[in-house]
Symmetry: C2
Subunit: 206 residues, 2 copies
Amino acid sequence: MAASGSRKGIGGRRPGDPDTRGDIIRSAKALFSRGYGDTSLRAVAREAGVDPALIVQFFGSKDGLFLAAMADAMRPAEELPAIIDGPRKGFGTRLASWYFGLWEDDSRRLPIQAMLLSAAAHPAAADLLRTFVTREIADRVAVVSRRKDARLRAEVVGAHLIGTAMVRYVYRIPPLSDTPVSALVKLIGPTIDSYLLPAPRVTASR
Amino acid sequence: MAASGSRKGIGGRRPGDPDTRGDIIRSAKALFSRGYGDTSLRAVAREAGVDPALIVQFFGSKDGLFLAAMADAMRPAEELPAIIDGPRKGFGTRLASWYFGLWEDDSRRLPIQAMLLSAAAHPAAADLLRTFVTREIADRVAVVSRRKDARLRAEVVGAHLIGTAMVRYVYRIPPLSDTPVSALVKLIGPTIDSYLLPAPRVTASR
């Protein structure tokens, strides 16, 4: 289950090597997948074949590395803008497709899942998840909504998606766990729209 | 945080004592709140002041005790029928009120939260959660819906509620974590209805 997607770095690699940062992130995702508490910078450095000081130089701390690993697995800065900037119609469907796509891809799912579980067990990891979800996801998604409580609505959408992934991929409760993603997107996409976009009937009567 | 609601049983209590079962359940909830993996029947017996054989007699096994503790914390058999049998209008609001009521009550929240987290970490606990959610909750809630995919829809509702509780009570991400329950119920109740009940406009055109 915990197939590691990491590749051992080659010892003695120079700091300027273009893949050093990528190697550290890959190693961090693999180790964080086994648990936040047990993962040390030293262990990540060993796995990546670099000096621990280099990780501090790149990421500041274990927490900075955790945030970078989460950002690398989810890539909201790279992938959300196209979803958000597209036509309002179909926004929920696009967001749900993107989200379940993350979870269907093992190399992205394992670190994301591990970080959600770590955040449930370790207050320090929960602080990081809170920062990440707020800045990287909820603040972006809230822009779609012109409602007064847009931030709350964006978070309710996020909570819905987190819960659905937990039931499907972690608890594996059927029929949710064996329903095709396309059917889930069709079911949940319009709910996302109804949370964020103005209700059509209200708009029509104004 | 992990305030135990258990009371130590008095040694030498007879098996027929009317509160023995309750004492075992209370002790089980307190110990399971600290983790499924670390909890033994022996430890529960010690905490409740009873013989371990008595727990086996009442609950069959550690798994049976876990299910009984979950049922005691959530009480779906006792509390869901009134919600389900009421008028269709307002069903989602009644379900969401009941659900957030569980989480707002520490003595119910702590064991429920612990069981959700245990199930994410221990496959054996996940099996039990799967059984419990399916039989005790999703099967009941699905009855409300006449839609063909009622079971899937009931589970999507459950996933939405689980995720909302995780973000509010476990990850504590604002604004969801500091929004009054009444506002959340108002926001999420209609979504529950839209998942389970036939869409009003579709009904009108039939």
